[in-house]
């Protein structure tokens, strides 16, 4: 009997210990304005802005650390820490002027030294951090306390937008960190509207108001980022009022109708430069045949992809790689020819093209080219429902024109790192269902379609595609400082891209965010979705009076 009691007691102690182990000291509440943000990923890397680049945690690091400027989807650059910048063609120097108001949350000013230090560190650890400016910058010099000069080794028109991708850190905090790639930055000090307060891995991140914020302190006293791993729970929490803001509504298009009907919630879904397309491996016969690509394009079920796979949150694509939202650069004339036709008509037309080529359907319904190649291919995609469903739709439609597809699904890393791109890519694919979220500045197209040096990895050369004329135009456009001329070139490129059908665009996908409107009003002056929507959104949130 005594043994039994001892056993029970032992069990109870173990049980209580489990609790104690799990919980650290608790904070006691005060009346504060709290703003709760839902996020689907854990800030895995900690609070290190250099590493954050590689992760989705980028989304809340900018509440603490800010960039020089912010790029909006329509191609504008909003000055942020840097109030202005200019280019000296003679010396190939970009000079950035930092806003005088800008200061760190400990009160010290943000100086040119800090900027220089940040970029020097980023360049030094480029291998891990992957800094976009390193290749072009010869030297960084401090002009005066608030001005910093980047001396380039070649002309690069897109340099200011590239600079905006780096978050600036205070030199006086980071100068003796050592290897920044191994630093988790436990006590962040930044210039942003919020200061770090507490972080519980896989649970939440708490930030508090930076009273000294240079754009004026926020109305929000405390900002809590709750880690969710289930979009459905995220949405229900928003509707219940447990959460105020969902910065990214990716992949839950089906649920948005329900959310839009809620009076207290504002759903902001907007077009971005985000395109679904089918890429082709040009090494496979006879994918080099433009007429075949034409037929495949006609037969693609683009309307259904928009209405079903994207649940209506998408648009039929422009054929020149750019989405209409990038107003400054887009060539709106390169619309899809099939737009006005019924699907049946398009499929007939595609069949006609292939019949004219003399590629007959075999008894199994699969066409065979004149030199005997069977049109039987694999289409690879990531194991994400939207991708799989899209791939299946494409497969069903292409079957109707005698092209047989097998859908093969891989995880992201295997697919892109192991098969398509990457150091040891096997190039063992025929079609690739791909989605690219491109920054508005067209420079990235040059990097992707006309890489310098030509055989570097992670770009369209992985498709086996080559076209001297188009690639020359792209290369020129990178160095063209006259913006009007540059726009002309890019628009010309889009025409050629559409005509050549380098890839088969399927749809432009919308992206968006949602927030509650009952406690706060969004006084945000930018109505266009930006890559830093959380920062911009939160800075513009004012308490409802």
């Amino acid at each position: 009997m005594r043994k039994k009691r001892a056993l029970v007691a032992l069990g109870a102690i173990i049980f209580i210990l489990t609790f104690v182990m799990a919980f650290s000291p608790l904070s006691v509440a005060e009346a504060k304005t709290k703003y709760v943000v839902a996020w689907y990923a854990d800030p895995g890397a900690g609070m290190n802005p250099f590493l954050a680049r590689a992760h989705s945690d980028y989304i809340f690091i900018p509440w603490m650390y800010e960039p020089m400027n912010i790029e909006t989807w329509d191609g504008k650059l909003i000055p942020w820490l840097a109030k202005s910048w200019e280019y000296k063609a003679a010396t190939m120097e970009w000079i950035f002027h930092i806003d005088e108001r800008a200061r760190w949350s400990d009160g010290k000013p943000v100086t040119a030294e800090d900027v220089k230090f940040t970029f020097d560190v980023a360049h030094k650890y480029d291998a891990v951090v992957g800094n976009p400016t390193k290749k072009y910058v010869d030297a960084i010099t401090v002009v005066d306390e608030r001005s910093v000069a980047f001396k380039l080794n070649e002309t690069l028109a897109a340099f200011p937008s590239t600079v905006g991708q780096v978050l600036i850190v205070p030199k006086h905090r980071w100068s003796n960190v050592g290897d920044v790639t191994k630093y988790t930055n436990p006590e962040p000090l930044g210039s942003g509207p919020f200061k770090f307060k507490e972080f519980k891995q896989r649970t939440y991140l708490a930030l508090e108001k930076n009273e000294l914020y240079w754009q004026g302190p926020s109305d929000i006293d405390e900002l809590v980022v709750r880690v969710f791993s289930n979009m459905q729970a995220e949405i229900q929490a928003l509707q219940k009022g447990e959460v105020d803001f969902i910065p990214d509504l990716a992949g839950v298009e089906n649920l948005l109708r329900r959310l839009s009907a809620d009076k207290n919630v504002n759903v902001q879904m907007e077009m971005t430069n985000n395109t679904f397309y089918v890429a082709l491996n040009y090494r496979r016969e006879p994918l080099k045949n433009k007429q075949l690509r034409q037929a495949l394009d006609y037969a693609a079920p683009k309307e259904r992809i928009v209405t079903i796979a994207l649940a209506g949150y998408g648009d039929l694509p422009l054929m020149g790689y750019f989405a209409p939202v990038v107003k400054k650069w887009v060539n709106p004339t390169v619309t899809w020819e099939g737009r006005k036709m019924e699907e049946e008509v398009r499929i007939n037309k595609a069949n006609e093209i292939l019949d004219n080529l003399g590629w007959k359907k075999g008894s199994d319904g699969i066409r065979v080219t004149s030199d005997g190649t069977k049109l039987e291919y694999r289409i690879k995609c990531m194991s994400d429902p939207a991708f799989i469903r899209t791939a299946e739709m494409v497969k069903d439609n292409w079957a109707k024109i005698g092209v047989k597809l097998t859908v093969q699904v891989h995880d992201r890393r295997t697919l892109y790192g192991g098969i398509v791109f990457g150091g040891k890519s096997t190039k063992d694919w025929d079609f690739l269902l791909h989605r690219s979220v491109l920054r508005p500045d067209p420079d990235h197209i040059a990097r992707e379609y006309a890489p310098e040096p030509p055989q570097s990895w992670y770009n369209a050369t992985a498709f086996g595609w080559e076209n001297d004329e188009m690639q020359t135009i792209l290369k020129k456009s990178r160095r063209e400082m006259d913006e009007t001329k540059r726009i002309m070139m890019i628009k010309k490129f889009q025409e050629m891209f559409a005509d050549e059908l380098v890839v088969i665009p399927l749809a432009h996908k919308h992206m968006g965010y949602a927030y509650r409107t009952d406690r706060f009003v969004n006084t945000n002056e930018f109505d266009v979705y930006t890559s830093l929507i959380p920062l911009v959104n939160v800075v513009g949130m004012k308490l409802k009076k």
């Binding site: 489990t18 509440a29 709760v36 630093y183 891995q201 896989r202 880690v227 459905q232 790192g417 192991g418």
Partner: protein
């Protein structure tokens, strides 16, 4: 308890751990293609970063050197650096997740044992009757239902439809609690559904076990004697018979730790509970191989500790047993 028994117990534990190590060591190296790809899972890497990985894991060295290095690192608790939580070490993240898993698994196990005990005793007492066969049928059906689906149904009904319980997480993130009690209440509220699901889906094993041993015990002479003496039914049932039938159940509780913690992968995934099961799922999604391997090793360790603890408990409970 002889030292020989202890020695045997420990050596077999060590052997299992060693096997887990070998598996962890071999899998990435047995994959076709460049081993570095297995270690980076094809993340885009510059030549320098690639070289760093080759050096870190000694991939250019002969296999036995690699293994020795790996072996020593594992013993030191160094399971490498997580891909996803880079540059944090795997161990760090696992240790934060472990208490939560133990909380729900241990609580659920207590409930399972209690439910299994009472249903098992009841069924054994009326063995062969309609009542018994109904309980058996229900047990088998529940046991054969996929645990994640049971979790989904619980979440759908009690979380989304009735809104009795929160939809996920371990406690309300960033909430300021007036006192510790309120906090514990919040934790219990979040843990309730996962515990209920786990308890519901796995009580059957204990029930069947309890019933079968109890049926055997009830046939024994001393029970008949006790009954003949006119001892109360309750006393015979719970004092005499059940006590002796408990032992197999306790052994099984230890063995089933494997299954239980395994089941937590599903439970925690459905309820977004940030324990080690969810960590495994997240690591599958992000192909965080070091984390996956670390979790596997940790599970192996837990299972071994579990079985050893049960052996001691057994010793404690049954005076007849001497190892």
């Amino acid at each position: 308890m002889s030292s020989r028994w202890l020695f045997r117990r420990l050596t077999s534990g060590v052997m299992v751990l060693f096997a887990a190590m070998i598996i962890n060591f071999a899998i990435p190296r047995a994959m076709p293609g460049d081993p570095v790809d297995s270690f980076t899972s094809g993340v885009k890497l510059t030549a320098e970063a690639r070289q760093a990985i080759v050096e870190r894991f000694g991939l250019d060295k002969p296999l036995w050197v690699q293994f020795a290095r790996y072996f020593v690192n594992t013993l030191k608790g160094d399971f490498g650096v997580s891909f996803y939580y880079f540059p944090k070490p795997v161990l760090n993240i696992m240790m934060q997740a472990l208490p939560w898993t133990l909380l729900i698994v241990v609580s659920a196990m207590i409930f399972q044992v209690i439910i299994g005990y009472f249903l098992g005793v009841a069924a054994a007492w009326r063995v062969g009757t309609r009542f018994d066969s109904i309980i058996q049928t229900v047990s088998i059906t529940v046991f054969s239902s996929p645990i994640f689906w049971v979790a989904m149904v619980f979440l759908y009904v009690f979380g989304f439809q009735l809104e009795w319980f929160p939809l996920g997480g371990n406690y309300t993130a960033g909430e300021s609690y007036p006192n510790t009690f309120a906090f514990l209440l919040d934790v219990m509220k979040h843990a309730a559904l996962p515990i209920a699901t786990l308890a519901f889906s796995r009580f059957a094993v204990y029930q069947v076990l309890m019933r079968n041993t109890m049926v055997g015990v009830l046939r024994e002479q001393y029970i008949v004697t006790a009954e003949a003496k006119g001892m109360g039914q309750f006393r015979v049932k719970h004092r005499h018979a059940a006590r002796n039938a408990m032992l197999p159940m306790i052994t099984f509780a230890g063995v089933s730790l494997t299954i239980q913690i395994g089941g937590s992968v599903f439970i925690e995934t459905v309820f977004s509970y940030p324990g080690i099961g969810k960590l495994i799922f997240d690591s599958v999604i992000s192909r965080d191989y070091p984390m996956l391997q670390g979790c596997f090793f940790l599970f192996s360790l837990l299972v071994i500790i579990g079985t050893i603890v049960v052996d001691f408990l057994y010793l404690f409970l049954d005076p007849r047993i001497k190892y």
